[in-house]
């Protein structure tokens, strides 16, 4: 046993705190508390990250638009294979970067709907068998119906803006739902009749401006 040395006042305070902590909790509960705190911290960061992530089509971008050029209101984009809701004249998905047709999984497809690579060759599985054609559904009429159970979703009113040197047709996907894809109250927008805007897509017309 070591002889008692003269204690510094701070040492004395620290010793008292340590003894009180040791008396008030077991080792297991202490580890549990620390674990819970760490878990809470990690969960909080994830939750916060998810809450902070903007719904596609609502984030302010250059040119004072929301999400993509020409979109001047805060209603989110209709969900498709890509973040940008680019569609063809029928409302089916296109790859935003170059306007090539894609299926619901975002794979490039040929005229027969079969998945292909960038060079136009059929995609194959691991043993070389060509992959079959996947579904290619209309983002608004079919996609919104399937994802959100809004059977009346339909592309209706539109407006035009000049984007990247061509006229872009921005198109409201409309439903009688009082909620929009953002989760809050929907607005009338350019929808007809009793429908309101649920989400938005766009179609690049190729018309120069």
């Amino acid at each position: 046993m070591q002889p008692d040395r003269e204690k510094h006042p701070l040492d004395a305070v620290g010793g008292r705190v340590a003894r009180r902590l040791a008396n008030s909790t077991t080792r297991r509960s202490f580890i549990g508390t620390v674990g819970a705190a760490l878990l809470a911290l990690a969960t909080k960061s994830q939750v916060t990250e998810r809450a902070d992530a903007a719904i596609p089509g609502t984030e302010p971008i250059k040119g004072n638009w929301f999400g993509f050029c020409g979109h001047y209101w805060t209603t989110g984009s209709c969900r498709g294979p890509y973040r940008l809701p680019r569609v063809d004249r029928l409302g089916k998905p296109l790859r935003p970067s170059d306007g090539r047709p894609v299926d619901d999984r975002g794979r490039l497809i040929n005229d027969l709907g079969q998945p292909i690579d960038a060079a136009g060759n059929r995609l194959t599985d691991s043993v070389g068998t060509p992959l079959p054609a996947g579904p290619r559904t209309r983002i608004c009429q079919d996609g919104v119906k399937a994802r959100y159970n809004l059977n009346d979703a339909v592309l209706q009113g539109s407006w035009y803006r000049c984007c990247n040197g061509q006229i872009r047709k921005l198109w409201d996907c409309c439903s009688v739902s009082s909620r929009r894809i953002n989760g809050d109250a929907s607005v009338k927008g350019y929808c007809y009749g009793k429908r309101k805007v649920f989400c938005v897509v766009y179609y690049d017309t190729g018309v120069p401006c």
């Binding site: 250059k62 040119g63 638009w65 020409g70 407006w159 035009y160 803006r161 006229i167 401006c209």
Partner: protein, 433 residues
């Protein structure tokens, strides 16, 4: 024939309703088809002034005929509808057939010449849709005639025919007179598919011709000759004997009759507008878009406006020393006007987010621009007195106006069909503005 569309003729009340419905629909479709076809023919012929003069001539002939001054036979097929059809054919066949024959307008007797006057007017319009609507109404009246209560009413009409004819003559005379201002203002420029970006000066029209995605500038001289420039050229601006246009390397100014190159501006420049010695254009870089004026004799360049590269800085217009242009982004849409050398600019027109204004043009003391709200685009004009008026509107949602040019009595505007990707230059007469 009408008496066959009765319960007795059809075999029951319900069959009569079905018969009248099929007769009316067939009549409307046949009449609208005739109108649409003639509108298309008129558009393809293009020479509106000649077509309008022809329509006016038909109206005069018809008026003289109705007044009893001239004896002119009306082209028709002098027979009734095939009566045996209703005994030998099923009800849907003979009712539809009767409707088509009567709706076509010339399938049976045609006592009045008014119908042919209408056909002349529809052809002169050169608009298939408008023609289909006009003649579709004629088809509808055939259907209404079929549901008119019995022959008594028709009999009264028939007995009043001699009294109606002078009135008809007066109406046709008024119609013939109404053609006069339209003929005076009509442009012989054929409204051709595949033409865009009109620029008009002293009767010479420059435009971009689109063929399978390839562009080419053409000039149609006031004398009727056409001058073509190489593939890849577009967005012309004509002033006197000179023409500026955009190509792959920048902007060229040439003498359009000889093709002699006068000046070349290379680099990321676009959307030229030429007036006397001043050339206005847009220069784009990674950090900005600038609207610049080049004084072609002195070689000096002034910057009129500068925006971020994400702003749509539109095709400018210049008249004397005034430049107008549009600046559009998500925050709003503005058409500005500024004198070269001035530091202040004024707003010609503006719209917040929803309402877009763009593509201004100037000429003859007027400023015109495109206004867009949702699917509808329209052309607005403001004259020197500040009077502003809408002069044309697209039907939407598949038609859109873009570039335009202002003449003395008309505006030429570029109308795109978003369904077919085709462009047409429309002529809009300017009346009281």
């Amino acid at each position: 024939m009408v008496e066959t569309l009765t319960p007795a003729g059809c075999g029951g009340r319900h069959r009569q309703i079905a018969a009248v419905a099929m007769f009316t629909v067939a009549s409307i479709v046949a009449a609208a088809s005739v109108g649409g076809l003639l509108g298309w023919v008129g558009r393809e012929i293009g020479h509106q002034r000649i077509l309008l003069a022809g329509a006016a001539f038909i109206a005069v002939l018809a008026a003289l005929r109705e007044a009893g001054i001239l004896r002119v036979a009306v082209p028709d097929i002098k027979r009734q509808v095939p009566e045996h059809w209703r005994r030998t054919r099923p009800l849907p066949v003979w009712t539809t057939g009767y409707g088509a024959i009567l709706g076509s307008g010339f399938g049976t007797y045609q006592p009045a010449a008014t119908y042919w006057t209408t056909l002349g007017a529809v052809t002169a319009m050169g608009k298939p849709l408008a023609g289909a609507i006009c003649m579709g109404i004629f088809g509808l009246t055939r259907g209404v005639m079929a549901v008119a209560p019995g022959s008594a009413l028709l009999g009264r009409f028939a007995s009043a025919y001699t009294a109606i004819r002078p009135v008809n003559a007066l109406v046709l005379t008024a119609l013939a007179l109404a053609f006069a201002p339209a003929i005076a203002q009509a442009e012989d420029w054929p409204s051709q598919n595949g033409t865009a970006d009109p620029s008009l000066h002293m009767g010479n029209l420059a435009y971009t011709r689109w063929t399978d995605g390839t562009t080419r500038v053409e000039v149609r001289a006031a004398t009727g000759e056409t001058f073509q420039f190489p593939d890849g050229t577009k967005l012309p601006s004509i002033y006197g004997t000179r023409l500026a246009f955009q190509d792959a390397s920048g902007i060229r100014i040439v003498e359009w009759r000889t093709g002699r190159l006068l000046r070349r501006i290379t680099g990321p420049v676009s959307k030229p507008a030429l007036f006397r010695e001043n050339l206005v254009y847009v220069r784009t870089s990674t950090v900005s878009k600038r609207l610049q004026v080049l004084q072609t004799q002195l070689g000096t360049v002034r910057t009129i406006a500068s925006t971020s590269p994400d702003t749509d800085l539109g095709r400018p217009a210049i008249a004397d020393k005034i430049v107008t242009w549009h600046q559009n982004d998500g925050g709003g849409h503005v058409i500005y006007r500024k004198a070269i050398g001035s530091t202040t600019r004024t707003v010609v027109a503006s719209g917040r987010r929803r309402y877009m204004v763009r593509d201004p043009a100037m000429g003859w003391g007027r400023t015109a621009w495109i206004f867009s709200d949702a699917e509808v685009t329209s052309v607005w004009v403001r004259n020197a007195r500040g009077v502003t008026r809408r002069v044309a509107t697209t039907l939407g949602p598949d038609f859109i106006y873009t570039n335009l040019t202002v003449g003395q009595r008309r505006i030429l505007v570029n109308r795109w069909n978003l369904l077919t990707g085709e462009s047409t230059i429309d002529t809009i007469p300017l009346v009281n503005i």
